[in-house]
Symmetry: C2
């Protein structure tokens, strides 16, 4: 089949993979996968827990400590409050889990706060949810990685000056793992997640046995109490601040409901099971760690983490088990970032396909993952780490406002969904954007569950925003509306463009009546002649234009043009102010003003292509400058005719 | 006159100044000046001294201190060496000045080391000289500004954390002054230069009167001795290291001979007078300061400069005169950078017009100064300041190698010039590149002066390079050959290009036999149709190409093209690996392989122009990517047809 002889429509299949020069990419992220491979890349409950739960579980490593940091102004009495607060947080965890158990079967294609609020609350709430979630995924990466590196640095203080770069290095590593594809990274992360769960349970169980056996003492040589930062209030505000810090434990819950499509069929069931297992582990660890930390009188400190103090008290010193706990905690914190790497690109792609973000985010890369979203997340979270110098203390107050905002929107949306369902007749079905509404006799109890969840998480969000406002929550409160504003701008752009490009009721363009060609020339040489030759195929109406700064040079151009210019018109523009582009533009605008209807102007710019890329720095980029300057002029086309010097 | 009806050559005068949107630039650097204004912008001896001498004079502020820093390993005996070393430096200053007095009348258009060695020694030495000088001008800016800021910071220690940004701010200020034009900046700098000269003489004279009157004591409460850096050697190597540090006083001497064209006529005479005045001031201050510093037992220190100790000892405490000295020293150090701003762009322009640097450096901006050179110098010297954290101590060892290298080359060149002149008959004249050789009966004495100068400065250069090698001189010893290498590459590029573009013995290009047009389309919309309409004016041979990632989308494109595609060929390229550019390139390369002799391919890319610049981030830049990928393909032209959405 000779492709050049075809008429009508021809379909050619291009098996083009990556170019040979891109082989380092193949080495780094694996061979390209064809689109048809997509459905195979799904995961079961065991690997799903590893991929989506590490964020939530890892927060047990700092939630208790963060509560203690706030409570320490109360002195010894702090230890009386920490366990009751943990119970409160676990109750909240139960409410949120129950709420999300309603969402998972209703949205088998992923029921993140964005989807749920778009379907049930409208455009603005869905944009707010998307902003909150995207912000939060970024912070998840920054906080988890910083906290993980802080563990390493506590163990090896010599690494302290390099902590920012170690953190950025970890992000780069996770980025590459994710660019390889979700299944392989799931496998790579499964072992450490389960290792963490086992080590933490071991610590808690040993601790509890010794406590109830009466032979668990206080922590030996606790680190010195540090100066408190923040307001020293007593009473309800203080308790609420401590509670807010503890709610960091709930970040990451939404990950599973957002990531349902990554699960094996039956995916709703698998995802629901994973969510319950995760919450049970999270809740029990939170209670156990908080109970024991209070009883051993652990001192929150930048020098030694509460987990470390708990482990060496439970295991009587820094032995093999202690080392295991520290390594497991460090690793899970670093991997927690992986949760965000699974979800951020997916949500970006959904928002982009709804026209809220650049369309490029919907393209899947050679390994079937949303590569651009992965790279974007890596860049922004690295930037945050650099700006905040990998300090968990400075990042924590930014965290969790977004999470609870999205919880509230999601739950409110679900409550509204049950209300819509209550209006249906039995057996009736309505197809919505991302789910199907089916009559459910239990709608009232489900409405109450989600409604109660919405009220609780809404209150927590307000408490967090109020008590942490000056510490950094304000940053997020500024960023979320900004993102909503950007989404709206992008959405408007795509809509406007589509309407302007639409062929509906379009009469077509009038025929081009005249085609005029202008060739700006710096001198007369082979490149100029190549441009002139090309220009002759476009039109007979050709004008060469020389902007003259030096009269002698202009004279040389004139003489040479007489010999080589094929008798075409030459205009010399004298430029006493030594400007080049401006007189040329002025001339083009004069010509433009004189032109006939349906006349088109093509500016043919001779451009020589040097052997080496750096040599382009040695020449003025006339074509580029003209293209920028004339972009908004109708019916002016700029063509650069490359002349290959070799 | 209707410009569109002209045939043959038309000359139009464009009085285009800056565009209205550039008015902030006019406000910042002044109204544009036409080329005809150039000769008016010259300066006399008084302003010339302010413009070109501040670098040399300001070095008295640190030369003595830098010698003492090295000598302090000798303890109290250091003070015995400082004055004799200063005498040695002043003798060297005399030799260099005498040598340059020969150069100034010989090269009325500017006789920098570059010009002199190009005319008399050849291409390679001239490139070495240019590298040395350009490096040195950059260091002049970095060292002087850093030293000036160090004075401010010594006076107001609170500013210490901001020193780098203060330094960069000063560079920006000097840059703007210079973009306004040399005469105005000369005026702005004249008062502070003369204020410095007066204050320094006052200090030295008062100090000497009190010393010989027997009532000048030792410095009170000198700063504590700091830890010595560098090798602790004794004997000749130590003395030579101290001498090398002191030679920093000679940097800046060449400025005048390089800048002769900036002087009023008779410019050689004016420049020569300025040079002698400058050397006399410099030498006398150097001797006075070194003599007194030794006698008051000044302690070199980062905490308090030697000048400050001298001033408060001479004026008995920190009164008005002391304040005057400190302010004057600070200001002159900052302005010293201005010398380099006068010379660096001029030398860059000369080197660029010889094809060693990008041609763009020869263009004079709207205020008749070489704007690009000024901006380049500001950027590179700011970068150095940021890298070296504005530390004079770390910058000093990089300084002066380049200066003495250029002195040596310049003097050697002059010596060779007298040798050439000795071969002429009386009254005979030979025109060289930048000067005229005329018989001179005193050629022998002049040859001896320049030859002796060359030998002395050559020895000093070797001493400096040896004694300061490990402290940083090696950096410059690496940079100079690198620059020479770059010059040679650029020179070769321009030569090669000129030969390849030359029309001599050029047969012209064959006629274009066939013109094929390819339109890559993402969809069928108004923008696509505008591109198709344009393509029809180019050729009848048109193929639209759609790269298909989604089969449904491809089907939509096919159906729409049947309605709107004017019966033209459509090729659908299926891309199972979701690549876009690669299959398109592969297709174009197949077409390319099939084409007939003298067939040209134009790729017409539809491109919509959104209302806002940021919206271009929301679209893939197909035309740009194709242009980059197909740059080296012969006879392929890429045209983007803009479609203005509004």
């Amino acid at each position: 089949m000779n492709i050049e002889d075809q008429t009508g429509t021809t379909v050619l299949r291009r098996e083009t993979e990556a170019k040979p020069k891109k082989s380092w990419r193949t080495w780094l992220i694996g061979r390209p996968l064809p689109t048809a491979d997509a459905p195979h890349q799904t995961i079961g409950v065991l690997i799903g827990l590893a991929v989506f739960a590490s964020d939530a579980l890892s927060s047990t490593a700092y939630a208790t400590q963060e509560m203690l940091v706030i409570l320490m102004v109360l002195g010894e009495r702090a230890y009386d409050y920490v366990f009751p607060l943990a119970v409160g947080i676990v109750i909240l965890l139960g409410i949120v889990t129950l709420s999300y158990e309603q969402t998972v079967p209703a949205y088998p294609n992923g029921g993140g706060a964005y989807t749920v609020s778009r379907d049930n609350l409208g455009v603005l709430p869905s944009k707010i949810a998307a902003s909150a979630l995207l912000t939060d995924y970024i912070l998840t990466v920054s906080v988890s990685i910083s906290s993980g590196v802080a563990q390493i640095v506590s163990a090896v203080p010599d690494l302290f000056p390099y902590r920012v770069w170690i953190a950025v290095g970890f992000i780069a590593f996770i980025m590459v793992m994710n660019l390889r594809g979700v299944k392989e990274s799931g496998r790579a992360f499964a072992i450490p997640t389960y290792f963490f769960v086992i080590m933490m349970y071991l610590t808690v169980v040993v601790g509890l046995i010794r406590y109830f056996g009466g032979n668990l003492g206080l922590v030996e040589n606790p680190p010195p109490l540090e100066v408190f930062h923040g307001t020293v209030g007593v009473g309800i505000f203080l308790i609420l601040r401590a509670f807010s810090s503890g709610t960091a434990a709930l970040t990451g819950i939404e990950a599973i409901s957002n990531g349902i499509p990554a699960f094996k069929e039956p995916r709703s069931k698998n995802a629901g099971t994973t969510l319950i297992i995760m919450s049970l582990i999270l809740g029990s660890l939170m209670l156990g760690i908080s109970f024991l930390s209070g009883h051993i009188r652990a001192v929150p400190s930048e020098a030694e983490t509460v987990i470390s103090q708990l482990a060496r008290t439970a295991f009587d010193g820094r032995g093999v088990f202690y080392g295991g706990v520290i390594i497991a905690t460090t690793v899970i914190l670093i991997m927690a970032a992986n949760t965000a790497f699974a979800d951020f690109p997916r949500l970006s792609a959904i928002a982009a396909s709804d026209g809220l973000l650049p369309r490029q985010l919907t393209y899947r890369g050679s390994r079937l993952v949303y590569s651009r979203g992965i790279i974007l997340l890596a860049l922004v979270s690295s930037l945050l780490i650099i700006v905040f110098q990998a300090s968990v203390t400075r990042l924590i107050p930014l965290y969790a406002v977004g999470v609870f905002l999205s919880f509230t929107l999601s739950q409110t949306g679900m409550a509204h969904r049950w209300w819509k369902i209550s209006k249906l007749k039995e057996g009736e079905e309505i197809k919505e954007h991302s789910s199907i509404l089916r009559y459910d006799p239990n709608w009232l109890i489900k409405l109450i569950i989600n409604g109660f969840g919405a009220v609780c998480t809404g209150i927590v969000m307000l408490v967090f925003a109020t008590t942490k406002f000056v510490d950094g929550a304000w940053v997020v409160i500024v960023i979320i509306p900004t993102l909503v504003f950007i989404f709206t701008g992008i959405e408007r752009h795509y809509r406007h463009l589509a309407s302007k490009l639409s062929l509906e009721n379009y009469g077509g363009l009038p025929q081009i009546a005249r085609h005029r060609v202008i060739i700006p020339i710096g001198g007369v040489h082979r490149g100029t002649l190549a441009a002139l030759r090309y220009a002759r195929t476009l039109s007979d109406d050709i004008t060469a234009v020389h902007v003259s700064i030096d009269p002698q040079e202009a004279e040389r151009v004139r003489t040479k043009w007489e010999t080589w210019g094929d008798g075409r018109r030459l205009v010399i523009l004298e430029s006493p102010y030594r400007l080049f582009i401006e007189p040329l533009l002025e001339y083009i605008e004069e010509i433009e003003a004189l032109r006939q209807p349906n006349e088109i102007i093509t500016i043919v710019v001779p451009e020589f292509v040097p052997r080496h890329w750096w040599a382009s720095l040695l020449h003025t980029q006339t074509a580029l400058t003209l293209r920028m300057a004339l972009l908004f002029h109708k019916d002016i086309v700029i063509t650069s005719v490359p002349y290959q010097v070799d």
